[in-house]
């Protein structure tokens, strides 16, 4: 309370001196006006600084514009502006208190609609429940479905697959068309790379693969990985894609064993194939090659979990908690730390 009253006092003094300057000096001169304006301006600014400290915090933000507004008022409308600002503060403070003592109102519980229920903190869950709601108007559902074409395949393909069983044929067919297009793009790229690989092998020989062969092999591993990552393949097809990607990874690693990212991918592929020991070795190699632990440790922790080594998993999770760069993993980390 000390600071505002100090500011207020200074403001009042300055304002008084601004007016008295006009009376003391020759009231017709420009310098009198200038002198008045400077003093009045300073007084307005000080008053605003005092006033903002008295304002309830909710009204005091954003700080600078509020400050300028109040200073501007007092500056532009001499005396009345000054008084107005003070009156405003008084009203705001009393209004806030009145709101506080308003009695509680009782409201009806809304009817539970499972489609409104969000299943997690991720954005797509809202869309999933909307698309899955067969009672929503057809045009809006079609719109929502069409909007998915601008969403990455990883997010959209599970959603599209969900509505393949929709009772409405239009929805089913549109979803199928979109899924098919996504999948076709990757499979056509795979076909092209297979051709380029065959050409490379023919030109450069199989024993000592040259740059074309190796580039094709690397891209094939990428593309099969893309099928898995975008969840385009399930069940046996997924296993097949994992095996293919891993096979091409192996060839790349034979010629570039120090590629950290490829080592990590190989680890994840072996992990998916349930070859846990080999996967572990690949993860450690990726770490050893300088990949940041935030990228490797989550998978390693999952591996520990799959191995049944829960102490190891918890240890790795606590190690991860020192990093603040994993917002999506945070709940998982918190869970393991809490145990």
């Amino acid at each position: 309370m000390l600071l505002p009253s100090k500011f207020g006092l200074y403001a009042l003094t300055l304002e008084l001196s601004a007016w008295s300057a006009g009376a003391l000096l020759d009231s017709q001169s420009d310098s009198t006006l200038l002198w008045y304006l400077v003093l009045h301006g300073a007084a307005s600014l000080l008053l605003a600084s005092a006033a903002i400290l008295l304002l309830p915090p909710a009204f005091a933000r954003p700080r600078r514009p509020v400050l300028l507004l109040m200073a501007g008022c007092s500056f532009a409308v001499p005396i009345f502006g000054f008084v107005g600002v003070l009156a405003g503060i008084v009203i705001l403070r009393t209004y806030r208190y009145r709101e506080k003592i308003a009695p509680f109102e009782s409201t009806q519980l809304p009817e539970f609609d499972p489609h409104q229920h969000t299943t997690g903190g991720f954005r797509q869950s809202g869309l999933r429940s909307f698309l899955g709601n067969t009672k929503a108007p057809m045009a809006s559902r079609l719109g929502a479905l069409v909007a998915l074409q601008y969403v990455s395949g990883r997010v959209s393909s599970p959603l599209l697959r969900d509505v393949l069983t929709d009772p409405s044929e239009d929805i089913r067919l549109l979803a199928y068309g979109m899924l098919d297009n996504q999948e076709k793009r990757i499979n056509q790229a795979i076909d092209e790379e297979l051709r380029s690989l065959a050409e490379g092998v023919k030109l450069e020989g199989e024993a000592q693969p040259g740059p074309q062969t190796l580039a094709a092999v690397r891209r094939l591993s990428d593309l099969y990985w893309e099928l898995i990552y975008q969840e385009m393949v399930q069940g046996d097809l997924r296993t097949h894609a994992v095996a293919e990607s891993s096979r091409y990874c192996d060839i790349v690693l034979r010629h570039a064993p120090d590629d950290a990212a490829i080592n990590l991918r190989q680890g994840r592929l072996l992990h998916a194939l349930n070859q846990l020991e080999k996967a572990e070795a690949a993860y450690f190699r990726a770490l050893g090659l300088g990949l940041p632990s935030t990228r490797v440790l989550p998978y390693l922790a999952e591996l520990r979990f799959d191995q049944g080594d829960f102490v190891g998993a918890r240890y790795l999770m606590s190690e991860l908690s020192q990093w603040s760069s994993l917002p999506r993993l945070r709940p998982v980390i918190e869970y393991w730390k809490a145990q």
């Binding site: 719109g143 929502a144 069409v146 909007a147 074409q149 601008y150 697959r161 393949l164 069983t165 044929e169 239009d170 089913r172 067919l173 549109l174 199928y176 068309g177 979109m178 899924l179 098919d180 297009n181 076709k184 499979n187 056509q188 795979i190 076909d191 297979l194 399930q234 069940g235 046996d236 097809l237 097949h240 293919e244």
Partner: protein, 510 residues
């Protein structure tokens, strides 16, 4: 090739992209129907996209086809001559512009239909709205520009201009065909779309009764193509785009086919569907409910029943997809399913029996998929095959289509004692599980799975192939079902009735 021609016939069949150039379910149905009524003379009007898309006849023309003509809607779109300047008939173009205002959502469809009829009549040879005016006149240009400014959400005027041109030009061609058609007593269209538009135009100008038999739902199938097509451009950038809106040109095409469909439904009576769901869809798309009813497909039992005796004692582990190799059959899902089937039943084989010339790039994609899944030894592409040769060698007929009506292949398999695994499309569930309680009591003659679900398709096939007792039960159920509900004798009887009534109406009218 010289075709039979005649100045008149009893029934004109309007065929779009099917018999006699394309083999498949609808074509065999047409073949069946024409041969079933030797007492009637038929005129066949074939409509295709471009000459080069259709090579040879896949069927011999039956003897009672007295007249055959073919028209290719997208041929000769370009011209090398410089058109002379023309202004275009102001009145006719004003009517066309007004019609398009009425097509906008929110306008009563009756008004639009009336205006549509008037404009369509003006497009007939001798009318005020000529093709040359549409292509080259100042009025046409003004209307295209105006509509682009007012409604088009796609920034490319060039794409808009050409879409409008390519979309509408075939309609004048059809008006010419309608004008020159020999004298017929009854029209019978096998789909809506362009063939349906032609039928409706003749019905309106000559008063000839129009019968419409829809196998698939044309508008729906066009939508599938349009949803999947990558040739329709979307030029909107990230600021112009409403992510929940289909590209403008895609919408234009969809609306175009929807209106062609309505135009045909308005003129046709009766409107025949293969099964109840399709009939309801026709009503939802604008057909008058009292004009619609169902006549299911039927097959010739004598042709297939003897094949049962040729089957080996053990069930052959062969899954056979009989059908054209085209996207709507979703052959890829079958190939993917084979990956799992082979993982569990290494001796199993997948056969794909059907012509591959309709969509060669899709066929190539399918072959590539077989290769990339390492199934070269297990999946065979057999090309077009005689069904009688296939049936005794296979264990299951497979249908992985994303859209079907009432597939003959399932019925033919049943008649030969082969159960089926099918996706849940069209009337397949009714064919496999039965419709009313009496039908259901016959038992399940296979399995139904969701579309694009290779895992489920494979599991259903494996389950049936591994369990001989279940397979035999399914086979018996199939035989009983086809004999009771889906014979051609039933179907021919119902169609005879339809033709007789239409001919009687025609005689009254003339």
């Amino acid at each position: 090739m010289s075709f039979p021609t005649a100045p008149e016939a009893d029934i004109a069949l309007l065929l779009e992209g099917t018999f006699p150039y394309v083999s498949g379910g609808v074509s065999s149905w047409v073949n069946q129907i024409v041969r079933a009524y030797p007492e009637y003379s038929f005129a066949l009007i074939f409509l295709g996209s471009r000459r080069e898309d259709y090579k040879d006849f896949k069927y011999e023309l039956p003897a009672n086809v007295v007249h055959f003509e073919e028209h290719f809607l997208y041929d000769d779109l370009a011209s090398n001559e410089k058109p002379p300047p023309r202004t275009g008939n102001r009145e006719a173009f004003a009517a066309a512009a007004k019609l398009h205002e009425k097509f906008l959502p929110g306008t009563p469809q009756g008004d639009a239909m009336q205006a549509f009829k008037e404009v369509a009549h003006a497009m007939m040879p001798g009318g005020k709205l000529t093709l040359d005016d549409f292509l080259h006149s100042e009025r046409a240009w003004e209307i295209v520009c105006e509509r682009y400014r007012k409604y088009c959400t796609d920034p490319s005027f060039v794409d808009f201009f050409w879409t409008v041109r390519i979309m509408h030009t075939p309609l004048w061609k059809l008006a010419g065909v309608a004008h020159r058609l020999p004298k017929v007593k009854v029209l019978h269209s096998i789909s809506t779309g362009y063939a349906g538009f032609l039928g409706a135009l003749i019905q309106q100008t000559r008063g000839t009764p129009l019968i419409l038999s829809e196998h698939g739902i044309y508008t729906k199938e066009r939508k599938i193509d349009l949803f999947k097509s990558e040739w329709i451009r979307d030029n909107r950038n990230v600021f112009q785009r409403d992510p929940s809106e289909l590209s403008y040109f895609r919408q234009m095409w969809i609306h175009f086919f929807e209106w062609l469909g309505r135009f045909c439904y308005d003129a046709a009576d009766p409107i025949i569907a293969l099964y109840e769901q399709n009939r309801l869809r026709q009503v939802a798309d604008g057909a008058l409910s009292e004009r619609t009813f169902n006549i299911p497909n039927g097959i010739n039992l004598q042709r297939f029943a003897p094949l049962r005796a040729l089957r080996p004692a053990a069930v052959p582990p062969v899954l056979c997809l009989i059908g054209r190799v085209v996207p709507i059959k979703d052959i890829k899902t079958f190939i993917r399913a084979m990956r799992r089937v082979v993982n569990h039943l290494p001796e199993a084989e997948g056969w794909i029996a059907g012509p591959e010339d309709e969509d060669p790039s899709y066929a190539q994609d399918c072959r590539n998929l077989v290769h990339s899944l390492g199934l070269q030894d297990h999946v065979k592409f057999l090309g077009f095959q005689k069904i009688e040769n296939l049936m005794p060698k296979i264990g299951l007929t497979i249908l992985s289509s994303i859209s079907e009506a009432l597939p003959l292949v399932i019925l033919e398999g049943y008649a030969a004692g082969v159960p089926t695994i099918s996706t849940d499309v069209g009337s397949c569930r009714q064919l496999i599980e039965g419709l009313e309680s009496e039908d259901r009591a016959l038992g399940v003659s296979g399995a139904v799975v969701n579309i694009a679900d290779p895992q489920a398709l494979a599991d259903a096939a494996i389950a049936l192939l591994r369990d001989e007792a279940r397979w035999h039960a399914a086979s018996q159920a199939g035989i009983a079902r086809v004999e009771r509900y889906y014979t051609d004798v039933l179907m021919f009887g119902l169609y005879r009735d339809v033709y007789e009534k239409a001919l009687a109406r025609s005689a009254q009218g003339s």
